[in-house]
Each structure stands twice: as C-alpha cells, then as structure tokens.
C-alpha cells in the first residue's frame, strides 16, 4: 500500500479522494494548494503525488516542475487533475514532468484503478 500526497484547494474533493484511497488501504496526506503540497513533499517522501491544476498560491503545473527538481521526486509518479481533457492542458502537464492525468470529475473507482496501474500492480 502506498503513501499518497493529494493536493486540491477544494475540501470536499480532498475528502472524497482521501476516503477512497484510504478505503483501499493507502495512506493519504492532504494539502490545500501547491505551496502547501511542496512543503509537505519536502518534509516526507510520498509514493504518488496527485495534484489539481487550478489552485491559489502555486498551481499544479508549477508544483510539478518544482517537485521534479528534487532528486527524490525525479522518478515519483505525479498525476495532474485536469477539468477538461484538453490537449493543451495535457501538453503543459507533460512538459512540466507529469506522469499522467486524471480528468475531473473522476469516478472514485477509477481513481483506485489508476493508482494500481501506476504502482505497477
């Protein structure tokens, strides 16, 4: 089971994500925006990072770029949550260093599938 850092400025989304992931046995740390997420990532090592794009303080793309600069996160799976499946957003995520994307609104069941795939199960 993995330790997952989940970043989203919406409390209700964070709660659903945490609940879903924890019910599958993962451990979840929540962060409220990019800056908070970055600080938490610096203090502990996470197996997967899941981040929203539109957030105050620091947006998802910037966060991903910053994470990739850290050697201990160079190979960590990072998934960006996009609200639309626009190619533009995917390109920006890719360039910043994201491993993949998840479209919002997402199905909690699907979230677990993605986690499993990424953890190479």
């Amino acid at each position: 089971m993995a330790t997952i850092l989940a970043i989203d400025d919406s409390a209700s989304i964070r709660q659903i994500v945490s609940f879903t992931l924890r019910s599958a046995g993962h451990e979840v740390m929540e962060a409220v925006d990019g800056k908070d997420g970055l600080q938490k990532a610096q203090r502990a090592q996470y197996d997967i990072v899941l981040t929203d794009q539109n957030m105050p303080e620091m947006d998802g793309i910037t966060l991903i770029r910053n994470l990739r600069k850290m050697p201990n996160y160079a190979a960590t799976p990072i998934l960006v949550l996009t609200t639309e499946s626009s190619t533009e957003m995917k390109m920006a995520g890719r360039t910043a260093g994201a491993t993949g994307w998840l479209v919002k609104p997402f199905d909690p069941q699907r979230l677990l599938t993605v986690m499993d795939t990424v953890l190479d199960r």
Binding site: Q15, E57, S86, R94, T99, P105
Partner: protein, 739 residues
C-alpha cells in the same frame, strides 16, 4: 435525468459520497459568498483582472464539486457562468452591468439549488431561462469587436488570429495540410477552431486564401491525426477534414513524414473521434489514454510511469531529438501561463492571511464550557486558600496566585476563539441595500467602520436580525428620494454608515444615516394620539425613545419593506435579551443614529450579588442604577400592597424580592433593609432585598439546558463558596412590579 427527486445522480461507482455532501455545501456557500462580494465590488468600467480571476475560480470550484457529486443542475448553471467569466477574464468580452446582474441572479439560484440538495424540500428551480440569458450575454454582439456573421469580416474580426495566420494572395494555400470545414459549420465555430492554432503552441500556422472561407492551409510539424484529435473536441468528425496538401490523407494509415514515425492506430475516419483510442506516440507529447473516453492516461516515457507498454519499437535516438525540439518551444509559452496563474494566486493570497483550521462549533462550545468549570473550581480553591496563613503556607498561596493568573489568561484565550469580526454581519448588507434601493428608486451607498471589531459568535447570530431591521428602516424611512435630497441641498446618494467599536467592556454598534431625521413634533403628536404619556419639556432623547413603544410608527405609508411599525420595540426587546441597550439620536433634516451597546459575550457577565434570607441572587450590573439603605420615610404607600420609593422627586415602584422568590429567613432577622434601583425596558424598579453583597464577574451557566426554563430567572452561576446563585431576569421583574 430525473431532477425532481432531489437525489444526486453521482458518478460514485458504488461508493457512497453523501457523507461528504456537508463539506461541499459549506464550501460552495463560502464560494458563493465570495462571488457575491467580488461582484458587488467590481468596478464595471474597469474591472480588476485579479477580481475577474477570483470570481472565475469561485464558479469553477463549485462546478468541480457539483460535477463530482452528480448535482447536474448546479453543474450546468455554473458551467454557463464559468464560460462567461472565462471570456471576461481573458478580455474576450467587455463587462457590462447586465452581466453583473445576471451573475448575481444566477448566484441566488445556485443558493436555492444548494439548499434544495441539502434538504430544504423546495421545488427544483427552473434555471433554463437564466442559463439562456447568460449564454446570450456570452455571445453578445454589441461588443464592438465581436465576430460579425459574414465571410468578408472573418479577416478583421479577430485581431488575435492574425498572429498565427497569414493571407496568401496567390490563390494557392501553403502548408502540409489543407483544413476544410463543412458547409453547415458556423463562422464563429470555424474561428474558434482556428484560434486553437494560436493557443496551442506548436500546433501549426494557418494560412488563409483571400477568397476561401472554409479551406485553410496548415503549416505544421504536428501529425494530422493529432490535429484532428484536438479539433475533435470542438467539432464533429463530419464537420471538418484535414488532408495532405496535394492528396487527401487516409487517417487510418500511418501519417506522414515530418512528424516521424507515428504509430496511429485510428478507427475508420467516419467514426466520432471520441470513440477512438489513439496511440499517438510522438514528440513525447501525448500519449495513451487508457480509458476510451480519455478520462485518464499516462504520458509515454514519463518519469514515474510503469514499465510495461504495448508500444511498437521506435528509433529511440530520433524520438529524443524530436522530444527536445518540441519541448524547447514550449517553455517560453508555458512559463508565461503558470506565472500569470501564480501571480494572480499570490495577489489574492496576500489577502488570505494565516493558516486556519475548521472546527465545529460544538467542539468550541464544549471547550468554553469546560474552561468555565475550571474558572469556577479555581475560584472555589481561591476562596479556601484565603483562610490560609500566608506565612505558613507560602508555597500554596503563591501557587494559587499563579493558578488564578493562568486561569484568567486561559479564559481570555478561549473566549477569543469564539470572537468573529463584525464584517461577517456587515457583509450581508451591500447586496440587501442594492436590491432594496433599486426597489424603492432610491440611491444609497453603505460605509462601514470597524469591520474588524470582534464579537462573540453567539451574539453575532442574535444581533443580525435586529441590525437588519435597523438598516432596512433607514433605507425605507430615513433616506429621502433623490429629488427630495437635492431639493434639501444634499447629494442625491444617501449614505448609511455602519460602525462597530469596543468601548469599555462592551461593543457599540451604530447605524447612522444622513436622511431626513426624526421629527419631534410628529412623534409627540403620534404619542398623544396613542395615549402615551408625554410632556412638553421632555428632552429630545426621551422623545426619540418613544419610538420604541409598541405600535409606534410615523411612517405615512406602510411599505412592504419594513412593515407596520412593529419593528422598533421588537428590536429593543431582542437587544435587551442580550443584556444590551439601544438609544436613538437625531437631528431633523440631517439624519439619525441608532446606537446599540452590547456586552462582548453572553458567557460572562458583571453581576451584583444580593442577599435575601440565606440565599444569594445576581442582578446584571449593567441594569443597576443605584443601591440605597432604606430610610422608612422614603417609602410611600400607594395601595395596600403597592409601595413606591421617593427619590429626588421621582417615584419608583418597590418590588420586594421575597414576593418573587421563596425566602427562608433566619429567625430574628427582619431583612428588607436595602433597595436596589435598576432599569429594564425603559422602566425603573426598586428591588427590596436584605443586603448587597458585592460585584463580581461571573460565568453564566444556562439553566434551561441543565434543569428547565424558570420564569424570572435568566441563568445561574456558581459562586466562590460553591453555592449556586440564580441570575434574575430584570425584564420579568419590571413587569411584575408594574402590575
């Protein structure tokens, strides 16, 4: 979609998301509140970018949550709002007041919808008209630079498009591909599609021909399949086609050279793009949707991606070159977008202040209760400690002193948790004023002073209704019509000032207007009419106070807004129930000021403890005027059972406390030697007791919650000796005295 049942159609895949509804409702309510505040504060002539971004984010946030929980009505309406706001923040549209009105109305509808989902049981509102209005505003053509319909205007309609397009006058379209749009496709749709080539860096350059409006050359290094993929989000597959310049490209084949080894396994071109699973492995750009609808996927070769891929073998070295070439172009574009994003974020973040914690009110109340108990226990300990010889028990006495100080500090900190700034109350008013003024054809603006002044949460909840009434009164009765104001030499816009400040141990809240003021003559006349006792040498203050009498209103017309003059006496009652007081002052022609004084909290009170028999009772210190040792000559008998006290020419009814409460007296003790004069509801009473014990600050305990409601008693407390003292309800006593 069945909306009438009120249940959510959720994409929960079997997981019950309803436990998270509460958080979403709170969050959405906060977002709606921010949205309204920002909309009201917007300068319609020059809206600030940060504000537009912030309003957009509010709508966007609500939409995200609503969609996740399956609240389709919310999702649809917020989506249209978001579209309008997005175009506004990108400066594709100019802000007009009609848009602000429409957004505010939509915000109201969202509030209703939210309430419905939260179980208010109201009917589901029909948002279709509102959505249509918003859509209309999105496409409004009175913008000056919007795209007009007609082929000739495409070239000048969109200045932005000019950067990525070029008009070739030679008649032959340059570029690797020809992009054609079907006949039925609208010009605006074509324009939107072409705009993609500006927005997506590296997608390509559009070449126009002077006489062609549906065929464009595309100069690009991006494979046609990917362009088709992208366009597929905006257009149906049969509405456009992309062909190699020279010969049509079969999209089912591996597509061509400059783009490299594309392994495009597309379904037959006639199918809708959304059904296609495209494995476009090129430029390291985008990759593999794993779900057919593209709802998630992994970037091929990305850091952290799992090792297994069903990928055809590629020439690794060349693919890296391509990846670099493409990514080299991107940083320039990317760096501007997120920078703008985080700058807007930073700007609003500056206003956000420190980190906060969401705590339920119940937990805070419990904490306050426990601290209150601690204070009482400490007081008892202090009492016991008083009897100790300080020389013998030096350590104990010293420690008790420390305990007292720490307990006091703890209590202050805990009480501070429940303190909320007055801005919470004041913020309701701009919207209310705007709507009210509009209805009455008046012009009113609001000024607030001391927004940051804090008040206990419980008091804030109770003060909101009375304040609302006062503000409505001011707009309705006090502020004159613009013409009248001008005639009186005032500016046509009336001002209502709301202020809050700490004074002594209380908070003073004032509602001040620069309206017509109160007319002494009219009020006295009305009082006479109603049989309320008056005299010609009443001070102005006393005359204004007459307004608090029940049924009193000098409004000529009973308006729908403020009702029939039942207001002011109810307002005063409500305020007095909070141990507060309200006074009026006014100058005819200039304006009126209503001043409300409240204790900072209901949980602690300054009390005067009085003794009767073997018991102790408490009177709120605020209500006490004076206390007198009785001199029998001052007592006058009115009737057999009623006596009055004469003080300085004034006659005050005497109420023996023993008539109100059961008293056990020690034999031989006559009692009733002291009189406390207090005032409530504007009337004075002299309470006859045995003795005045002292003044203390006491922790108020709710009697009803712990025992039951007792008429005449407003609460209880535990004194230092551990005994319970009941707090007398002064309003009740006044009523008893005057019967």
């Amino acid at each position: 979609m069945n909306k009438s049942t009120g249940s959510a159609e959720s994409s929960d895949g079997g997981m019950d998301l309803s436990q998270f509804h509460g958080v979403f409702f709170d969050e959405a309510a906060e977002n709606l509140g921010s949205m309204e505040e920002l909309l009201l504060a917007l300068d319609t002539d020059a809206p600030a970018n940060d504000d537009l971004h912030a309003i957009f984010r509010c709508a966007h946030s609500i939409k995200g949550g609503a969609a996740t929980f399956g609240f389709a009505d919310l999702t649809e309406l917020t989506h249209v709002m978001e579209t309008l706001l997005d175009r506004l923040r990108r400066h594709e549209l100019v802000l007009i007041p009609a848009m602000v009105d429409a957004l505010l109305e939509s915000k109201d509808m969202l509030t209703t919808m939210l309430g419905r989902h939260a179980g208010s049981g109201e009917d589901s509102p029909d948002a279709s008209a509102m959505a249509a209005n918003l859509r209309r505003l999105c496409e409004s053509t009175d913008q000056g630079n919007a795209a007009a319909v007609g082929p000739a205007s495409i070239a000048q309609a969109d200045p932005v498009a000019a950067s990525a397009t070029a008009t070739d006058l030679s008649g032959r379209l340059p570029g690797q591909y020809i992009l054609s749009f079907a006949q039925g496709v609208d010009e605006t749709v074509i324009n939107d599609a072409l705009k993609l080539f500006d927005e997506v860096i590296g997608l390509g350059r559009i070449h126009r021909s002077a006489d062609e409006t549906r065929r464009f050359g595309v100069e690009t290094e991006t494979p046609a399949s990917e362009i088709a993929d992208l366009l597929g989000f905006h257009l149906k597959a049969d509405e456009f086609s992309i062909e190699s310049n020279g010969a049509p490209v079969e999209l089912s084949q591996a597509v061509d050279v400059p783009a490299g080894r594309t392994a495009a396994a597309l379904a037959p071109t006639t199918g809708p793009v959304s059904n296609v699973i495209a494995e476009v492995l090129d430029d390291g750009v985008i990759a593999r949707p794993v779900a057919p609808d593209g709802s998630w996927g992994l970037f091929a070769g990305a850091a952290g991606a799992p090792e297994k891929h069903n990928l055809p073998t590629i020439d690794e070295s060349r693919s890296d070159d391509r990846a670099e070439a493409v990514t080299a172009e991107r940083p320039a574009a990317d760096s501007t977008a997120p920078a703008a994003g985080s700058k807007a974020g930073a700007a609003s973040a500056a206003n956000r202040g420190d980190a906060t914690l969401r705590v339920s009110v119940d937990k805070v109340d419990q904490l306050i209760n426990l601290v209150g108990e601690l204070v009482i226990t400490q007081a008892m300990l202090a009492q016991t400690g008083r009897d100790l010889d300080p020389m013998v028990h030096q350590q104990m006495v010293g420690t008790l002193a420390d305990l007292e100080r720490n307990t006091r500090l703890l209590q202050e900190s805990v009480m501070a948790i429940r303190m909320i700034p007055m801005s919470v109350v004041f913020n309701r008013f701009p919207r209310m004023l705007r709507d009210l003024a509009k209805k009455l054809d008046k012009e009113v603006e609001m000024v607030t002073v001391g927004d940051a002044t804090e008040l206990d949460k419980g008091m804030i909840e109770k003060i909101t209704d009375p304040l609302t009434h006062l503000v409505r009164n001011a707009v309705d009765h006090a502020i004159e019509m613009p013409e009248q104001r001008i005639a009186a030499g005032k500016k046509p816009v009336g001002t209502i000032t709301l202020s809050a400040q700490h004074r002594g141990g209380s908070i003073v809240i004032e509602v001040r207007d620069d309206g017509r003021g109160l007319s002494r003559k009219k009020i006295l006349a009305k009082a006479v009419e109603r049989g309320v006792p008056t005299s010609d040498n009443m001070t102005d203050e006393d005359v204004w106070a007459l307004i608090f009498e029940p049924g009193f209103s000098t409004a000529e017309v009973v308006t729908e807004v403020s009702g029939r003059g039942v207001g002011m006496d109810v307002v005063r009652k409500n305020i007095q129930a909070l141990n507060g007081s309200v006074t009026l002052s006014s100058a005819e022609g200039y304006g009126t000021c209503v001043s409300v004084r409240l204790p900072l909290t209901l949980a602690i009170m300054d009390g005067m403890s009085i003794g009767i028999g073997t018991d102790q009772y408490i009177l709120p210190l605020d209500s006490v005027i004076e206390s007198i040792n009785l001199n029998p000559s001052q007592i006058k008998r009115v009737t057999e059972s009623n006596r009055v006290l004469e003080i300085r020419g004034e006659y005050i009814p005497i109420l023996p406390l023993q008539d109100v409460v059961q008293v056990e007296r020690e034999p031989g003790k006559e009692g009733n030697t002291t009189v406390i004069v207090f005032e409530a509801e504007g009337k004075r009473v002299a309470l006859m007791v045995d003795e005045l014990i002292g003044q203390h600050q006491i922790v108020v305990k709710n009697l009803e919650r712990n025992y039951r409601k007792v008429p005449g008693i407003s609460g209880a407390t535990i004194m230092g000796d551990g005994r319970v003292a009941l707090i007398l309800d002064v309003a009740y006593l006044v009523r008893r005295a005057r019967h």
